[in-house]
């Protein structure tokens, strides 16, 4: 069987022809189906945005997109124009993140957006959906990427903190998803001290709490003195790690929570002293296991290290192609 003609990859996103709508388009369109709230997937300015209520709330925080917002709950099926059914399923990536299952003319297509299979206290777990065409990400699509259990990385963070009571540990973490997951995992590990936030983190953390993800006592760095922050964990966006902003902190130990931290020189390039291998994306084993479990007729790869995942498909006699979508970034995860 050949690839379905009704689902068309373009550099700026995936076009669903019968329904005249786009999935995660990188330009403003009339109708967009959005998988999750990260800026490279969710852009403002669409006429209509179909997404989970959490994703819509996140987009509203960033682009003020209340107009044209169409909430879709997990598991709910929407009938779109041209007899296309769309069902949003949890992707386990960040709060509100969804895979989009499209059904048309007896064919099932799943677009994962970004996803992971590991437990995450801040979002619903990934739900497996068998399909004909599996359109997946491949951010960590190289066999060198094995994300360790997050408990090990949180333990590393807490022991660095305990060993340096006069200093602080500054953790660079993506403002949407990673930051809240690190905080929630710290709480789960029994760390109940106040956690300090860079100003850019505040609104998203508050939103998570409003949406039912408790994060414990959070304080803003700007409201506190150097002395108060000794022995504390401070969370900031990765871009602020080596910024002048961090000079106000008491002898910070620079940490970063990212899947890229697996590679030593990547950590060094960022001047990271305490690399924490924590990712919200599937690692190599999750990617390949998911393809095996979904068992699609064909895999399409949206972005990431697609060459290696293509090679894996070839080695396992599976059909796959790379879409080379533009505008999806992965440097900070």
């Amino acid at each position: 069987m050949s690839a379905p003609h009704w689902i068309q990859p373009h550099p700026q996103g995936i076009y669903v022809a019968p329904a005249d709508c786009w999935v995660d388009p990188s330009v403003a369109v009339e109708r967009a189906l959005v998988t999750h709230g990260h800026a490279d997937h969710a852009r403002g300015g669409h006429g209509e945005t179909l997404a989970t209520p959490e994703t819509l709330a996140i987009m509203d925080l960033r682009y003020n997109t209340r107009a044209g917002a169409v909430p879709v709950a997990y598991g709910e099926t929407l009938r779109l124009a041209g007899s296309v059914d769309a069902t949003y399923l949890p992707a386990g990536h960040v709060l509100g993140s969804a895979q989009i299952l499209l059904e048309h003319a007896g064919e099932r297509v799943v677009i994962t957006g970004d996803y992971k299979r590991r437990p995450d206290p801040t979002c619903a777990p990934f739900e497996l959906a068998p399909c004909d065409i599996f359109i997946t990400e491949a951010t960590f699509g190289l066999p060198v990427f094995t994300h360790p259990p997050i408990a090990e990385e949180i333990a590393k963070l807490l022991s660095a903190l305990a060993a340096n009571p006069e200093a602080c540990v500054l953790v660079g973490a993506y403002a949407l998803g990673k930051a809240q997951r690190v905080i929630a995992e710290l709480r789960a590990a029994g760390h109940h001290d106040p956690i300090y936030l860079h100003g850019a983190m505040e609104r998203m953390c508050r939103l998570y709490e409003e949406l039912g993800v408790p994060l414990g006592e959070l304080r803003l760095v700007a409201d506190h003195t150097k002395e108060e922050m000794r022995g504390a964990i401070i969370i900031c966006p990765p871009s602020a790690l080596n910024d002048r902003w961090s000079r106000r902190l008491p002898d910070p130990i620079t940490a970063m929570a990212s899947g890229w931290m697996r590679v030593r020189q990547r950590a060094r390039q960022r001047n990271v002293e305490l690399p924490l291998v924590i990712s919200d994306h599937a690692d190599w084993h999750e990617l390949t296991r998911t393809v095996e479990e979904v068992n699609p007729r064909e895999t399409w790869i949206t972005h990431g290290r697609e060459e290696a995942l293509l090679r894996w498909h070839e080695l396992h006699q599976r059909k796959a192609r790379a879409l080379a979508l533009v505008g999806y970034e992965d440097e900070d995860d």
């Binding site: 190289l142 060198v144 060094r268 390039q269 990271v272 002293e273 690399p275 090679r311």
Partner: protein, 532 residues
Amino acid sequence: MEEFADLVDALIYTRSRNGKLALIADYLRATPDPDRGWALAALTDGLDFPAVKSSTIRNLLKDRVDPVLWSLSRDFVGDTAETASFLWPEPLRPVDAAPPTVSEAVASLAAMTRVSVMAELPRLLDRLDAKGRYALFKLATGGMRVGVSARLAKIAFAQAFDVEVDKVEEYWHALAPPYSELFAWAAEGADPPDTANMPLFRPFMLAHPLEDTEVDLADYVAEWKWDGIRVQLVHVHGETRVYSRSGDDISATFPELIDALAIPAVLDGELLVRGSHQGGKEGGAASFNALQQRLGRKTVSKKMLAEAPAFVRLYDALAIGGDDLRALPWNERRAQLEALMPRLPDSHFDLSQIVEAEDFARLAQIREGARDDAIEGLMLKRRDSPYVAGRKTGLWYKWKRDPLLVDCVLMYAQRGSGKRSSFYSDYTFGCWTADPDQGGELLPVGKAYSGFTDEELKKLDRHVRQNTVNRFGPVRETDKSLVFEVAFDSVHASKRHKSGLAMRFPRIHRIRWDKPAHEADPIEALRALVKE
């Protein structure tokens, strides 16, 4: 091995010098003999396991991992050992044995042959986790790349046991790994090793760049800075050694010098190859290119000895006839060196001449006038300077000639390794064969990977990625739109390059974002700078 693996990783992530010193010192205090000695040797590149090479690691992995997945991974990670440590398949059944100690790993690596390594190295690897495998690979193949120089390790050793670093330096070269006597002396107060009758390396005295300073020639003396390699010759009890700047014993590479020095002495000079390129026909030396053919060889053919005979242009004497001269002022050492010269065969030794000038301004003129390609510039030495290890401010200066400059066009880029893995940081650039409007084409003339800041590297990396027109494996061909002002010390005729030219020390001097590519220099401009 786990503690050593932790140390290696901690050193990678720790940037401050004091932080690194503390990590090594803590490890040396906490670790028993002989593990700590082997670890110290590994950190300072003092171990060599001939059976284990980087290619051994690749071959081992080739049998276990798909070659395409391997090379994609290697290209991304930028380090063979690290890639292999990740991709090594975990054993199917858990291995009973505990991770090997450093000593056990060293003993086992040393016993391996090129044949047995394929079966025995896997057995060690199966007992380690990814971090341990990385440390083992690095230990086995050398080149730890943890930002620790031999000097830093010695300072850490001195700090760990509260002993003098100069003594550590001196005894170090008398001993072999795992340095049991060094630890016995420093940690347990045993007698120091007896070094008087050993052909030991003494740390070199080094120079600071002169920058904008002017010196008074009443206090300083000038010598030419020759373009060879700095060596130290030591003769004690009928034994001669030749040491490179880093203290490596390179005697086997230059056997003609072993026989030439038969007087007890420690001499400092520039190793050169006979020729007329530097300093004219009389007593002249060939270009660095000629010397390069002889470097890095473990054995030397007769033909090579005849075609490229080495000699040493002497700068200084650290000891003569058993007397240590290092505490004496330079002019007294120089007098003793001059007095020694008649006793040395002039086939293999000559004396670095003093460059006379009335004053500093005249000296600057002489330096500018000497367009002798291979002379790097001038050395300025305080007349009363003792011979001290390392760089001491105000004693010796190097005053390099201004570099030559040429505008070239970026043609190809390749990813760097180590800290620059993932960045396109190695650049091949070219000059025009003729006026580009008249059908001239670009011909590669050189390659550079330095001279730019980290910020510029990011911009260059972006430029390469956005302007790629072709890919050949790891190499990207660019659209040839960017001009580099390339600085270099000299340029020579070379049969090895398509352009017929080889630049010495090319580096990116300025990135000319503003300059159109067709305004870059023609290859003739570069050829005109060749001096033979």
